[in-house]
């Protein structure tokens, strides 16, 4: 089954480029332009990974990240944060909030795609271990 | 280059020229008792230089772009 990637960014052009890259890499994609839309898509689309921009109108990327990590149902979702504000404290904050990777804009498309591939591969391994190991606390 | 800034720099340059012309050793070159146009040569030198400085100032600040 194809992995599902949810792309969240409020810049339409960046969104177009990310959609192109993700579908070229063979993933199923959906897009959201605001925090509210993103939360709705999380429910509806059940993605394996989110490409999440930090600066969003309304609910921002940090908060979405937090909510995803708080909800047990979404705990397996990988989060790759994207931001144009590349300050150290923000990277630290994103990672502390449970993001799996942090990429600053402007990004290299190859690096981005390979990061996403790596994260999804890890998720699949973990998933395999999880199904074998049975119940987890 | 910023016009205001340039104006200030030009004025400073004229100041520097003036300071040079009104000091040793340039002054000593004109320190002679002879007359030029019926006037003491030092006196002529000082006033002509003075007038020239003023003309330069006026040219710099009153020039329309």
């Amino acid at each position: 089954m194809r992995s599902k990637v949810l792309i969240v960014d409020d810049e339409p052009n960046i969104l177009i480029s990310l959609e192109f890259l993700m579908s070229q890499a063979g993933y199923e994609t959906r897009s959201a332009e605001t925090g509210e839309q993103a939360l709705a898509e999380l429910d509806a689309f059940q993605p394996d990974l989110i490409l999440l921009d930090v600066m969003l109108p309304g609910i921002d990327g940090f908060e979405i990240c937090q909510r995803v990590r708080q909800a047990p149902a979404w705990s397996h979702i990988k989060i790759v944060m994207l931001t144009a504000k590349g300050r150290d404290v923000e990277v630290a904050k994103g990672l502390a909030l449970g993001a799996n990777a942090y990429i600053t804009k402007p990004f290299s498309t190859r690096a981005l795609v390979s990061e996403v591939q790596q994260q999804l591969a890890e998720a699949q391994n973990a998933g395999a271990v999880e199904t074998q190991g049975g119940d987890r606390p | 280059m910023n016009r205001r800034f340039l104006k200030g720099q030009r004025l400073i340059a004229v100041f520097a020229i003036g300071a040079l012309l009104f000091s040793y050793p340039i002054l000593s070159l004109f320190n002679r008792p002879q007359l030029l146009f019926g006037m003491p040569i030092l006196y002529v030198y000082l006033f002509v230089t003075w007038a020239a400085l003023i003309a330069l100032y006026a040219f710099i600040v009153e020039r329309r772009r």
């Binding site: 070229q24 144009a84 | 400073i12 040793y24 007359l35 019926g38 003491p40 003023i54 100032y57």
Partner: protein, 923 residues
Amino acid sequence: MLQGGVVFLIILLYMGMLFALAHYGDKRAEQGRSIIRNPMVYALSMGVYCTAWTFYGSVGRAATSGVGFLPIYLGPTLMAGLWWFVLRKFIRISKMYRITSIADLAASRYGKSQLLGGFVALIAIAGIVPYISLQLDAVATTFNLIWNFPNIGQQTSIGQIFTVEDTAFYVAIVLAVFAILFGARHLDLTEHHEGLVAAIAFESVIKLLAFLAVGVFVTFVMYDGFGDLFSQAAAVPSLQRLFTFTPGEGPGGDVYGDWAWLTFLSMMAILFLPRQFQVAVVENTQERHLNRAIWLFPLYLLAINIFVLPIAIGGLLHFPDGAVNADAFVLTLPMAAGQEPLTILAFIGGFSAAISMVIMATVALSAMASNDLVLPLLIHFRLVRLNRGGDLSGLLLTIRRIAIVVIVLLSYFYFRLTGENNSLVSIGLISFAAVAQFAPTVLGGLYWRGGTRLGAFAGLTAGVATWGYTLLLPSMASNMWLPGTLVTQGPFGVEWLKPHALFGFIGYDPVPHAMFWSMTFNVGAYVMVSLFSKQTILERNQARLFVDVFTQPLGGEGQSLWRSNASTPALMDLLHRILGEKRTNEAMKTFALRQGVPWPMGDEAPPVVIEHAEMLLAGAIGAASAHVAVASVVQEATLSLDELMRMFDETTQVIAYSRDLEERSQQLERQSRRLEAAYTELQAANERLKELDALKDEFVSTVTHELRTPLTSIRAFSEILHDNPDLDTERRQKFLAIIMRESERLTRLINQVLDLAKMESGEMEWRRTPVDLADLIRDSAQSMGRLSAERQIELTLDLPARAPLILVDRDRIQQVVLNLLSNAAKFCDPDHGEVIVSLRVQPEWITVAVSDNGPGVPEEAQTIIFEKFRQLGNASRRRPQGTGLGLPISREIISHFGGQLTVQNNADAGATFMFTLPLDGAA
């Protein structure tokens, strides 16, 4: 023929004329039709530099040392080239912070120190009183000469005339009255004395004409032109000597060194003489008048000096036996030729030179004396309570008037005491040297942030002590009280302490000698002590404001160190008592409206208002006293060092904490399910991070973000196109179009950021041309036509056929109009868009309004939208287009041209953006 009575009558007539002129100048100022708002009058008023010393003394000095009189005028000529940097800074600072004297400037720069202000005032008064006395001396002596017309030789000593007949005394009294009437009639917020300046400028014309008349008469009537005069002189060895540099009275005889020091001395004098500061800085009405003065004032000096040497030589040829004092040649030559009208004219010229100096110097010194000496003392000894009691403005005026009378009388008694032993020039130079001591403190303070109050005290003390010992003391020793051996043999016979040859240095004349040592000690002490002492917070703040004055916004409020509020009634009461109720209310109301503070104010006055109140008071009672006065009604003191240190510590902790956080986050990642526990901690960290954000420069971070966003698209699509050479044409075209659009956006953004940075640092180039705003709006509307037609917006223009021309930068104003139009188009009703542009011409303003029928701007957002990168979304579009810099730039542009850009909501629907531009820049 020329009896004393006639001369007296002429003096009276002349004084009457001055009174009338000054009165007329004040009247016109009250009606708002100033006669001194004119670069010519400004430059002429600077002619107050030329006193009786110039008028009579230059000839005297030329008669003994040839061109030796010239450095006093070449110095200011050279300095004029630096005015654009230095004097303009003085003017800008004084206007922004209502500085009214040098003492005030020094006090304000060094942490609003009353002590420093008082010290500077004291030095100025001690240094200038002998100089004023010199002018009284000149008036009395020349009156005496002319009284004996046409007999030249018989001078009676003034000391022998009874006081009743003593002209100097009467002149002193009349001048004091004049100074009080036109220099201290009311406490002014701007401290402008228009009538006074008009009179001074007029006197500059009179003395120049008089001197030129005498010069022309001596050169061309008594002799046969320059050639004749100089060739006659060349035949006499003692006169030919004057054609070249001749060694002065000093033993060393380094004429060029003397010359250089005198030039430097007069460069400092033109900046720091209190009367020059008064006319050039305090009375300056517009900064750009400086342009004209930069060349006109040196030209004035040149004109008044052309005939100095000819008159001196003419006098020496005419009175070969030395019976007539060369200081009086200007008067005695016409007298000797029996020229009555010319004699009178010369006398009036010298008289006007003397009295203009006396009046201006007295007014300037009295402001210092009252604001920086008397008032602080009264406050200190609790004789005046600023925070309670009745009206103080009367008291302040009385102090100032008494100060005028005291200074004039002091000068008079100094004159009676010293007699006429001193030549005109030497006393003047001693005064010059006194005020030159301000140079390190003031110039250092304006260009070097590190100068401290202690440094200023040390420099001034060292400089003034050296000045007193090497110049003042010897001048007294040659007069009276002190033994003459002090100068000739040194105190107690100690050779190396001789005042004119300190440490055995004998290369220079006394004045250059004193300048060398006093400047050495002054600068040395100022710099060294500054480097080893600390500044208070207030001092550091003032240093920053003063040194970087050109990068502060004009009308620079908002730099307040006041942290707390004050009770409005107490603050207003303070202002009422000092400035009067009517003017206080007018000034505060204007300010409140401009700042968006509600009027009348609530019970608590916010920090910006307190700051402004302090500035208003500074104009009337000096910066230092104003600070003390305002502090008395503000409950909490200024931001303390402790508080600042605490804020600093906190910041450091937050930074350390965020590093800590980074490490911990890796553990967190491993135990991602146990985030709950760290969650509360994180929230606290969030709060701190927000604070950190605010402390860092938010602007830089935002610019970075805004630049990276288009860059991201450009890079991503470039790489996609590069990695996928076989992409279909349609998508290829689409991606290329995005790259182009985003590149444009990036360019636009960079340009705007640069524009804004240039404007804020004052480095923008503005090209002023006469512009018809109505025309400009029609143009702009046309270029917007396509866009509005596309969106079906109805654009209505409500314009007069033509508007008065104003001098602005056409392109920049068009940028503003286009920005407002495109904003209106963006935000108006999406279905039935209506935009109305109107232009109204008012007596002083042109108002342009652009209104739309969109949702309007929420009350709370009305100031935010003028901040950088703050945009409002609208319902149909989540993220507005544009860079978020349009309105801030527009506001910068409009305020550069003296106008205001504001927004308000319409009664029915939509918002109106309105800007005004003043008509006084009319072409």
